[in-house]
């Protein structure tokens, strides 16, 4: 029992309310400083709870504790994994507020508080989602972070693409959330409980699962996988990421999408892992199918992008696929590895988006072809970009590489090959952009494609095009990359993350060896980094083909930007989810 826990959600909420109310009357510096201070205070609080208070921290809000095993109150259940995610969210929000410090051109000119207020609301939604132990409350926070994310994506309302991307994002995600709510209603009808642990216990007391439990599982997972952008639920993500303001992209790709994976893990472990839930083989089959599909589609689409932010967005799809594979293995080693991978990936991906934002604000373009050879003077940004690409590919000793190596060892040879290939392709795409944009290597690519999003003629997000990159914009990606490096290097971090994952995962009683570097893992990491470099070199050196047809064209045409298509794919994905889960239960 620790009464400080609700403050992790309430502090950013109150900060946002304060900024909305008073933002009109204060200068911009004050509003942004208040926003940063509130985010930092929340980060400090979550870190204190994480490091100094014995886990798990359980708080029945308002003192509505259960009577005779039945509860009507709302419970916050924070183990180390949940607090760790909340701390990651808060630190990334702080990084984003520093990055946008005084640079970001905020449309409502007379209201300096609106952008930091929205970011703080986003933080409150995400912290609430990870900390809550109540399923309906999870839906509310899921929608809160969703709604704020739609608003932030379409924040620059004068940009035509931004409002379209925000609308697509909103429709698809809200549909997923309503599917999730249907699942919650079904579970409540069966158990009469909303606290996740109580639902799990009540299901186990009733014995083997039936059609209703299965339907609830499928509907809950639909909502969470839409958020996690698993193929074929992923279509909203590249559209939203290509158009959202850069600081928002850092949050969306860095943590929000990963919260879908976290939610899947939490829901499975606490509700469906027992004898009354879904059999482990069915869960493994479902998550591995969606994981491999996402990893493959994400990697291929990532390689064929020229819009740098869209490229990074597809790389997020690919990596979320890898996270789902690691989660679906249902092995404690793999879970620890994935937790490390998510931590490292958050730092690296946010840093890469920050660098892409620098390009956009300096040159008014985010297009790989148009920017060819135009940015040789941004040396530090080039170093960050190359380091980010190598880290994404899994070069030791970055945290991404450690997480990948640990998961590969638990996954067996075939899935390890998927990990190596996918990380090499996504890292290679970033290295290719680095070589072309900052180095000017190779012939300038011909501008011939029709069925793709180009990043030309974009508006910079600053008040005018930057002539000199501000120090805050350069310091933030550096700090984020350093953080990703520390995750891999500092032994205390990896053993803490490993034990947090073990504590949260269902049925793990023996604490296995904490995640560590092994010779094979190091070698595979170096191999995929080398592969990424080779791919980038080949792509840059290769003469440009102007073929009229290409084998990925059918896949690219599926990404049509049409809301109706995306909804149809979401329904199809739910059907696939149902088929996989049913086949696992019937067998």
């Amino acid at each position: 029992m620790n009464h400080l826990l609700p403050l992790a959600v309430a502090t950013p909420l109150m900060g946002a309310a304060l900024l909305v109310a008073a933002g009109r009357f204060v200068p911009r510096v004050v509003a942004e400083a208040v926003g940063g201070a509130v985010a930092a205070a929340t980060a400090a609080l979550t870190l204190y709870l994480l490091l100094a208070v014995p886990s798990p921290v359980i708080e029945w809000v308002g003192g509505w504790t259960p009577h005779h095993g039945h509860s009507v109150g709302i419970v916050l259940h924070a183990d180390h994994l949940a607090l760790g995610m909340a701390a990651l969210v808060s630190l990334l929000v702080l990084a984003v507020l520093v990055y946008s410090w005084r640079y970001f051109d905020e449309p409502p000119r007379k209201h300096a508080g609106s952008f930091p207020a929205l970011v703080l609301l986003f933080q409150a939604g995400m912290c609430g989602f990870v900390l809550t132990g109540d399923l309906f409350n999870a839906f509310v926070f899921f929608e809160l972070m969703g709604v704020v994310a739609y608003a932030l994506t379409g924040y620059r309302v004068e940009a035509a693409k931004a409002v379209q991307g925000g609308l697509t994002f909103g429709v698809v995600n809200s549909l997923g959330a309503y599917a999730m709510l249907l699942g919650i209603g079904l579970l409540y009808s069966r158990t009469g409980e909303l606290a996740m642990r109580h639902i799990g216990a009540a299901l186990d007391a009733r014995g083997a699962p039936d059609a209703l439990v299965l339907a609830a599982f499928v509907l809950l997972l639909t909502g969470l996988l839409v958020k996690a952008a698993a193929v074929p639920f992923h279509f909203w993500l590249p559209d939203a990421h290509a158009v959202a303001p850069t600081p928002v992209c850092m949050l969306l790709s860095g943590v929000m999408v990963e919260l879908g994976v976290y939610g899947t893990a939490r829901v499975y472990w606490t509700i469906f892992a027992g004898p009354g839930g879904i059999p482990p083989e069915a869960v493994t089959r479902t998550l591995l199918t969606f994981g491999v599909l996402s990893a493959a589609v994400g990697a291929v689409m990532c390689w064929y992008q020229r819009h740098v932010k869209r490229l990074l967005a597809f790389s997020t799809v690919a990596h979320t696929g890898l996270f789902l594979i690691g989660l679906g293995l249902l092995k404690p080693e793999a879970t620890g590895g994935i937790a490390l991978y998510v931590l490292g990936h958050a730092g690296v991906k946010a840093a890469l988006f920050a660098c892409a934002g620098i390009l956009l604000d300096r040159y008014g373009s985010i297009d790989e072809y148009e920017l060819h050879g135009r940015a040789p003077e941004l040396r530090l940004t080039a170093v960050y970009f190359a380091a980010g690409g190598l880290a994404l590919a899994g070069l030791p000793p970055f945290g991404t590489a450690l997480g990948k190596a640990v998961t590969e060892e638990a996954a067996g040879p075939w899935l390890a090959a998927v990990f190596v290939l996918v990380s090499a392709v996504t890292g290679g795409a970033v290295l290719r952009v680095t070589a072309r944009v900052f180095g000017g290597f190779g012939p300038a690519p011909a501008d011939d494609a029709e069925c793709e999003t180009s990043g030309e003629r974009e508006q910079p997000e600053t008040e005018q095009q930057l002539t000199r990159v501000p120090d805050t914009m350069l310091a933030v990606p550096g700090a984020l990359l350093a953080g990703a490096l520390l995750v891999g290097v500092v032994p205390a971090v990896r053993s803490a993350v490993g034990s947090a994952a073990d504590e949260a995962a269902a049925g793990v009683t023996v604490i296995p060896v904490p995640p560590h570097w092994s010779a094979a893992g190091m070698l595979l990491g170096v191999l995929s980094a080398a592969l990424a470099a080779a791919l980038a070199l080949l792509a840059v050196r290769r003469p440009q083909h102007t073929r009229s047809r290409h084998w990925v064209d059918p896949l690219r045409l599926l990404h049509s930007g049409h809301i109706g298509d995306y909804v149809a794919w979401t329904v199809a994905g739910t059907a696939l989810l149902g088929a996989l889960a049913v086949s696992g239960v019937l067998r």
């Binding site: 549909l175 309503y178 930007g561 109706g564």
Partner: protein, 116 residues
Amino acid sequence: MMDVLPYLVAAWVFLVGCYGLATSRNLIHGVGCLAVCQTATYVLLLAVGYRKGGTSPVFADFTPGARPVVDPVVQALALTDVVVGATVTALLLALVIQVAKRHHTLDPDELSELRG
């Protein structure tokens, strides 16, 4: 039959909303279809809480336990759900207005800047 009818209605309403959304030729109509999908959740929640012969859970004129009442928890959930739905619909309609201003169309078939 009468026991499962509300659940079938909820499933049908949800699917018909999805169908409308997938085939929509107008973004305002699309946002409306999303709201239809959400009404499925109201139907389901209220069906879950229904008790035969139960009255509304207001204990003003009788002592608790004297006669059956419907489940107040799901009514609280449905109310929260309405609030969430109002927020989402308002925000999406605001975005639709901006789409109409920037693209001069409300037909999703004519929005083709984001693809590939």
